[in-house]
Amino acid sequence: MGHDTKFTNQEFKLVGTRPARPDGVDKVTGRARYGADISAPGQLVGLVLRSPYAHAKIKKIDISKAEKLKGVKAVITDADLPDNTKGNRDLLDILENCMARGRALYDGHAVAAVAAIDDQTARKALKLIKVSYEKLPHVTDVDEALKDGAPIIQDFVVDPRTKKNSNLCKLTTLGHGDIDAGFAEADYIVEQSFKTEQTHQGYIEPHACLATLGPDGAGELWVTTQGPFAFRSTCAELLGLDISKLKVTSSEIGGGFGGKTHVWVEPLALALSRKANRPVKMVMSRDEVFRASGPTSSTSIDVKMGVKKDGTITAAHAVLRYHNGAFPGFWGMLGAMTSFACYDIKNIKPVGYDVLVNRPKVAAYRAPSAPMAAFAIESTVDMLAHKIGMKPIDLRIKNAAKEGSRASYGPTYGPIGIGPTLDAAKNHPHMRAKLKKNQGRGMACGFWFNFGGQTCVDLNIGTDGSVNLIVGTVDVGGSRASLSLIAAEELGIAYEQVKTNIGDTASLGHNDMTDGSRGTFSSGMATIFAARNAIEVLKERASKMMDVPLEAIVWENGTAKAIGKGHSNMAPLSLKEIAAAAPKTGGPIAGHKEVVADNAGVSFASHICDVEVDPETGSTRVIRYTVIQDAGKAIHPDYVEGQFQGGAAQGIGWALNEESIYDKNGILQNPGFLDYRIPVCSDLPFIDTQILEIPNPNHPYGVRGVGETSIVPPLAAIGNAVSNAVGVRMSHIPMSPMRILKALDDA
């Protein structure tokens, strides 16, 4: 089982260095082309009309006036998107989320779309579409939605316990042992309820695409996405196209964080293009991004944990309620699965509730669902430590999961890295630094699964010896640099000789999305094997050129060398020399590899944070922050640090500021960066990082995914720091100045 491990712990020449990224010049000069940066001859502008209500029946849509407006080339409603989903409810939900079907389920739900010759005309046309709504009662709060008598959002959803129509779309009970016995063993029990608010991935680039779809059923889609292959299959299924007739090209992507793993306007752009028979460009406004694209769940979580005086946690119970938006998902289930994953506790029972509300369909956001669960659990762990007078770090070390512990999602762990991150945290100078008045320190741990998945790459060697690596995982944060390093390492050539490109869906086999921290892990694995395949071809050609049997050729330092009797005086042939002769020795030289990169290896991190709270205003500043995480092997440490720092910064925003606010009518009140405030440069300190390298035995270089785990601990680390600074337990995030002042008043 597992993959080739003989290269784990190998000496690397290039892997671990920090060369300039191959797309750097494009990105600092403005040449890089993102979703909205491309145009086609005759293109139209596509715009979407959205529901102004949180929940309404759509009685009638009159598009006749809009269609008659000069310059309007197509108007579409759900009638132009027939149900091709063949009973696949998940797919139908995606279709209905892209375009309402007889009912609007949240503020911002798409109701109709137009394509016109320019933006002004398209805007006028939107105003001419007349929609008759019948307002329905709505619910946006996760706890309210579970109450008897709450407005029901989906008729097909039944409570698995009562079998009655309900907003509870999934109930997940996990765990092991006997919590009642565990609580009976405890010297102290802590019970606490927590709330977290809806946040958004907040990528700076709005969703954008350019779609062409002809009457022959052949189309092209240029789009900002984390997964061109997934977008291709989803769009093809929704529109009834052959998968291979739709070519999807991923643009440079201006941030995704999970939010660009789902389709939103893309099927609409294709449908408009099909109707108008012209290319259609659609770019979401920021307002639309906030109102209608992927938020996280808001949550309501109750935790009960028991501890002995010696620090042994004896039992843990959590009820985790996650809102899913208007369509069923599995976000509460994910919260339950990750909840106690950092600990070795004999008796646990996490219960996840997935709850429908009149808000946009929840989408993945960096280690989806884990940060909220970690906030509740890690806050409670701190409370346990205070209760028994133990340092929180020592309580965590005492109860940390290790090889042989049972995870909260069921299985028993193999070798894992939480222990080393905690030891590193305990020994970090940050832990011993002095705090001043109104300052507090907190720490927290975090867990994420990491994925591998389907991957394939092509590696083509040019006649000048330069190498073109084509991968199918979108580069969201510098992975082209890492993959070039891996190819160069394996071939024994210079980093600069390799150029990595992202292939479109017509030039490579299927690749899963860049999600689950899998880009460098899985494409890196495929690249290693593709390079080894190319080396076999290089050796074969060298054997012809040197007239030496293939068995006598070895590959060393980028050269083919003949070994054995009679060959010791032969000069080795470099990759360049073999490549130059390729046309006469058998044609192009290439390596190719398809893999299913399973066993990505679970990931753990420990964060330490210092804050200063102004007791007058309730405003909080993060004054020092340290991230410690296991990377398996850091291929390009700059971009590993970048993932650690970026995840921490997003978590800091989540903990202190970010919150989508819905009013009593269910309307989003802050659909813009002015009022949905993500951290700015002056809000943050430098974010220190410590990369641990505990090789993943299932990857030839020992790589683990690094992208997501860093967003898991910050909510709790900051919650614990603020609680320590103000002397009151903070249980509701974001910990905005108002909430902090209220907590101080209530105490």
Binding site: M1, G2, N88, D90, P160, K170, L171, T172, T173, L174, Q201, G256, F257, G258, G259, T261, F330, M333, L334, A336, M337, G352, A364, Y365, R366, A367, P368, A407, Y409, G410, P411, T412, Y413, G414, W448, F449, N450, F451, G452, G453, Q454, D515, G516, S517, R518, V596, D598, N599, A600, N698, G707, E708
Partner: protein, 81 residues
Amino acid sequence: MLRVNIGGSLRTAVEGADAIDLEAETIDELLRSLSLRYPRFEPLLKSGIAVAINGEIYRDNWYVKIPLDAEVFILPRIQGG
């Protein structure tokens, strides 16, 4: 005989069982025999599941050999960001 543990909400598809004993050498065999025994399990295969063998999670490699006495968990297939 292999003991297959069923996680959380997947249990409803196997009449509430938290563990099932069956014969299987690969993940594919395991899933096929589960589907035969529990028809409600089959649709889950389409919407996606994952299998943990001795703590390592497999989402796609259905022809992996399952070692004797391995700890096997059926998990939902989940999504990352």
